[in-house]
């Protein structure tokens, strides 16, 4: 039975990867999780220079999910290359580097720095973080801006480019088309949904940033709908994510149109989730007579 998929000419041994920001660069979780078993490791967003991120509390639990407003804290591209990419050298899996920035120039600087890094198979451009003031989601909620940043990144990137889309838009189809028009090789969605939680006893926001990004099983039906809509709007491959907890959830996303899937906050609940999900997808295929996972992509 075949679980492997191909995205922009890159072969993935299976369609399962982590959602950026929920797995670091794999360093910490490698004590528990065999990174070689994953379709890819998607690293946490990295910028041209270190970012401090937001004040705490940055985290709040919500029904069947969580909110976060980390603010894309990251050590900057220099340390990322020296430490994180070096660590990933020894593993037999694809590496997708998530790139963030406040301005076009900042995105381009990181993309250029990664040009000669052979350890990096793909780039994922974060134009959808709801928790940073400038850049981030601003690029991902206006189709014209999204198309422009996509084409700028494409001009400067050596690796295939995935644009990570925000669900905080009126029409995800329009955004998917804008990314495709800009030359994106693939799109990934959904990033988190902008949300708010109030501690009624303290009469304060649960998260210092006031708003945060909602993730987890609570958002899964929204994500499945958006993956379905986006994959019908464009010809480029879609990587689906949003509350995946099981092989069945992953299959649902693929039937909606995703060619690969990412597991996000559920890694915090169950650090072995991705390995289990790969096994469950295999079992599903065996039990239902699917010989190649590609058969089910967009089958509904």
């Amino acid at each position: 039975m075949n679980l492997s998929v191909e995205i922009a000419g890159i072969k993935f041994k299976n369609p399962v990867m982590d959602g950026s920001g929920t797995f670091g660069s794999g360093i910490e979780y490698s004590e528990f999780v065999d990174l070689n078993a994953l379709g890819a490791v998607v690293t946490k967003g990295v910028a041209n220079v270190p970012w401090e991120g937001n004040p705490v509390p940055r985290i709040a639990e919500t029904p069947s999910g969580m909110m976060n407003a980390i603010g894309l804290q990251n050590p900057g591209i220099d340390v990322f290359i020296e430490r994180d990419l070096k660590f990933l050298e020894g593993f037999d899996t694809n590496v997708i580097v998530n790139v963030c920035g406040h301005t076009e120039e900042e995105y381009i600087e990181v993309v250029k720095r990664l040009r000669d890094e052979s350890r990096v198979q793909m780039l994922e451009i974060n134009v959808s973080c709801p928790n940073v003031k400038a850049g981030g989601m601003a690029f991902g909620t206006d189709p014209a801006q999204l198309e422009k940043i996509t084409s700028l990144v494409k001009k400067n990137a050596a690796q295939p480019v995935i644009m990570k889309l925000s669900p905080n838009v009126t029409s995800i189809s329009e955004m998917a088309k804008a990314a495709e028009a800009g030359g994106a090789d693939a799109i990934s969605l959904i990033n988190t949904l902008t949300a708010m939680k109030i501690d009624i006893h303290k009469r304060k926001f649960a998260i210092a940033n006031k708003t945060g990004g909602l993730s987890g099983p609570a958002i899964r039906p929204v994500a499945v709908r958006m993956v379905y809509e986006a994959s019908h709007a464009v010809k480029i491959p879609v990587i689906g994510m949003g509350g995946i907890t099981s092989g069945e959830d992953a299959v649902e996303f693929m039937m909606a149109g995703a060619r690969a899937v990412a597991v996000g906050m559920y890694n915090f609940h169950d650090h072995a989730a991705m390995i289990r999900i790969i096994g469950e997808m295999e079992s599903f295929c065996r039990e239902t007579g699917i010989r190649d996972i590609n058969e089910i992509i967009g089958c509904v």
Binding site: F23, E28, V56, P57, R58, P75, N267, H271
Partner: protein
């Protein structure tokens, strides 16, 4: 590579209520083999709608028995669920996590002060035991324990009494000095040459100031909302004086670089 962190379905061997809203749960677990005082575990809930693991400090660990004991206040779903669990039930525990208190720093000290504010006291009990095991005399260790008062109940004071001189304070004056742990320290004119503390943020701020004014080394254990407990999510940051070696900014992970920090190194 030997695993430093263990994830194990761990059996509850004893649960008891030790004060109003304060519970003690002992587990049989492989985590017991490796714990240092001040480290913590992440407790996985059994609920499909409460998905984040709960960080709880380790109050005691016993290598020969293979047990650890958690003492916690019921504040939300996770701690409540744990408090209601009976002997024979099990929970998935991830640990030991974090750095723990630096014990070597106390070796040549004659006036070691442990300060536990409310539910901050539990990790200091394992520290007191560990200090005694290094040969430090009981007379060199003072534990200052702060409570709200007799109505809510006092806890762990008798166990601390076996390892240290115990001084108490309470908000209502029903036990020990009326006021905070700092009031008790000033009233007794304690002259510590090293401080270890865990408790609410206003208390830790006061201790940081007290220690800095007197040039006393102080180690404080911090608490922050966290999602992963192992250094991945970057949820539980504390502002640091110097650039942190991992983050490359003035931020350190409470779960990994902490939860214990040298008081002067953090901006709280």
């Amino acid at each position: 590579m030997e695993k430093k962190i263990i994830n194990e379905e761990s059996l509850i061997i004893k649960t008891e209520k030790i004060a109003e809203g304060v519970f003690s749960t002992a587990f049989k677990t492989g985590i017991a083999e490796k714990c240092l005082p001040g480290q913590f575990v992440m407790v996985k809930t059994k609920s499909d709608s409460h998905l984040l693991k709960r960080p709880i400090s380790i109050c005691e660990s016993d290598i020969s028995e293979g047990t650890i004991r958690l003492v916690y206040r019921t504040v939300g779903y996770g701690t409540k669920e744990l408090s209601l669990a009976k002997e024979g039930e099990s929970f998935e525990l991830l640990g030991p996590l974090g750095n723990g208190f630096p014990i070597d720093e106390a070796q040549d000290k004659k006036n070691i002060l442990l300060i536990g504010g409310g539910i901050g006291a539990p990790p200091l009990l394992s520290l007191a035991r560990a200090l005694r095991l290094t040969g430090i005399d009981k007379s060199c260790i003072t534990a200052v324990l702060g409570y709200s008062g007799m109505k809510a109940g006092i806890f762990l004071n008798e166990e601390f009494g076996k390892e240290a001189n115990v001084i108490m304070s309470s908000d209502d004056g029903s036990v020990g000095t009326r006021g905070t742990v700092m009031d008790a320290i000033k009233e007794r004119e304690l002259k510590p040459d090293i401080i270890y503390a865990c408790g609410p943020m206003p208390m830790l701020k006061a201790i940081k100031l007290y220690a800095e004014e007197r040039f006393i080394p102080a180690y404080i254990s911090l608490e922050e909302k966290m999602a992963c407990g192992v250094g991945v999510c970057l949820g539980c940051m504390v502002k640091t004086k110097e650039k942190d070696n991992h983050s490359k900014v003035n931020n350190a992970r409470v779960c990994t670089e902490g939860p214990v920090f040298e008081a002067g190194a953090v901006e709280i």
